[in-house]
């Protein structure tokens, strides 16, 4: 099979409110950062995939509004509605199709411009569910309780995820919420939806990220040493949250297994060096670790206590600070991807981990993780 690699990454700073910028302004900054990073000009880009959500953007065909600033004029441009990793998946398949050598993939959103709970409420079924007012936070609170019940994960262990990730963000100049906090601070923060405290939840942030993906025949022609996509998989579960065992993420387990198999990984616990996971809520980091086989069932909390997932631990998780420290919905997975690419290159700066040959990126979409996308990235082809 032909191979594809990531050869450029660029992001804006993640912020609470980019009140001075339009969606296109953010795209312009991220796209130019990615082009500069790759040592490319827009003429080197064969096609463009933008990732956005019409509800978050407050307009229909939200993708088209950022086309000009993303260099899509006179090119084939397509849009993905979902996490940025899904846009990257599509961008990669375009490079592998034989039709294009290079794809620019962007993802953007601004949480600051809307009432986020009304946006996520709109994701629920309008016939049976929406009128009850549940949103992402309440749905995930129920998932958290279900996960805690099954695994005996404690509120203290969940709080430690928040302490770790906000602490990691102190070394990431792009993060929205770098903070030195304690477990006590998390447990004493406002209870939003039992069992989730305010500091168990990610903020909703503004930001745009861009990555450039190339077919192997073009991957070494530019400035950066390519970071190879060794494995990738994308899986979805039932739409109705209540159809699933919500203490589990069946689709993530499947996606991870397929991605490992494609990358030739037999023991992910040993072979993955660094990972950025979708920690929209503290418990999710632990749950996703277990569901991907990076921790044994019900053990992630205990391994976290031992320091396994710290920047200097056995398997650093969300060394960037993760989404708890800044969550531009939609763009999120591309930020994670950019962080892992730069870890593997060794140029990520203050939150660089010791060993980063093989990295994992997880993106998700839908209530409580209805679908998941897992990328395995590697220094070697």
């Amino acid at each position: 099979m032909d191979r594809a690699a990531i050869i450029g990454v660029g992001t804006t700073k993640i912020e609470k409110s980019k009140i001075g910028e339009t969606f296109a302004d953010m795209a312009w900054e991220a796209v130019n950062n990615a082009l500069n990073n790759a040592g490319m000009t827009i003429d080197d880009i064969d096609n463009v995939v933008t990732t956005s959500s019409d509800f978050w953007d407050g307009r229909t065909i939200s993708c088209m509004a950022v086309g000009d600033a993303s260099g899509a004029a006179h090119k084939n441009v397509s849009c993905v509605e979902g996490d940025g990793t899904y846009g990257a998946f599509y961008g990669m398949t375009r490079c592998l199709s034989g039709s294009y050598k290079t794809t620019l993939v962007t993802g953007h959103s601004k949480g600051s411009q809307s009432v986020s709970s009304l946006i996520t409420n709109s994701a629920f079924d309008p016939i049976y569910e929406r009128a009850l007012g549940m949103d992402m936070v309440t749905a995930c609170a129920m998932q958290a309780r279900s996960y805690m019940h099954r695994t005996k994960t404690t509120p203290e262990q969940m709080a430690m995820v928040s302490v770790k990730n906000h602490g990691n963000a102190l070394k990431n100049p792009l993060a929205h919420l770098p903070m030195k906090i304690t477990v006590k601070d998390v447990l004493e923060s406002e209870m939003i939806a039992d069992p989730l405290h305010k500091l168990d939840c990610s903020p909703v942030s503004d930001g745009c990220a861009a990555v450039i993906i190339a077919h192997e025949s073009a991957a070494t022609k530019f400035k950066q040493k390519p970071v190879w996509i060794k494995g990738v998989s994308f899986c979805a579960d039932s739409f109705f949250f209540g159809d699933r065992d919500i203490s589990r993420a069946k689709s993530l387990t499947k996606a991870a297994k397929k991605a490992y198999a494609m990358a030739g990984i037999h023991d992910p616990k040993k072979e993955i060096d660094v990972a950025e996971l979708y920690d929209a809520f503290t418990y999710q980091e632990l749950m996703w670790l277990e569901e991907m086989g990076l921790a044994d069932d019900s053990m992630a909390g205990k391994l976290l206590e031992k320091g396994d997932f710290n920047i200097d631990g056995r398997l650093p998780i969300n060394a960037s600070g993760g989404l708890l420290s800044g969550h531009p919905v939609i763009a999120a997975g591309l930020y994670s991807m950019a962080a892992v690419v730069r870890q593997i290159r060794g140029d990520v700066g203050g939150f660089q981990v010791k060993k980063a040959k093989t990295g994992l990126v997880q993106g998700l979409n839908g209530l409580g993780g209805q679908s998941h996308c897992v990328f395995i990235l590697d220094k070697d082809k």
Partner: protein, 154 residues
Amino acid sequence: MTQNENIIIESGDAIQPFAYSVGMHGSKFFTELRDNRRFMAIKCPKCKKVYMPPRGVCGDCFVEMKDWVEVGPKGIISTFTILRFAFIDPETGAQKPVPYGYGFIKFDGADTLFQHYINVKDETRIRIGARVEPVFSKDRKGSIRDIEYFKVID
């Protein structure tokens, strides 16, 4: 010193009216709920899973479902949360008084979970596995709010 002024275009009270078809399955579900206070679920002919709420297709098997099954009205709490923070009611745009409870209810006879409110008058009785029953609205209109909430009965 120059002062920054934020010029922002707001959507204001603009709304996007939309009429959702509830389909044959929703029609049966809401009519039975409104008129007979019965909960109708639907069973997959292949994997035998009983789906609540009812819909046309079993996603796992990719087959059409036609076998109606009455479930509940009692069930258990599968998971829950208690809201301590004022959320906006999407029906009215007003903030809901806190605290209030949400839960996933597993009706007796159903295999999937049904989302609704849980009465939090006595919080200590709310736990995973607690038995619940619905309290119906007096004035039922054929909507999900024909159930006021579920209350713990054990």
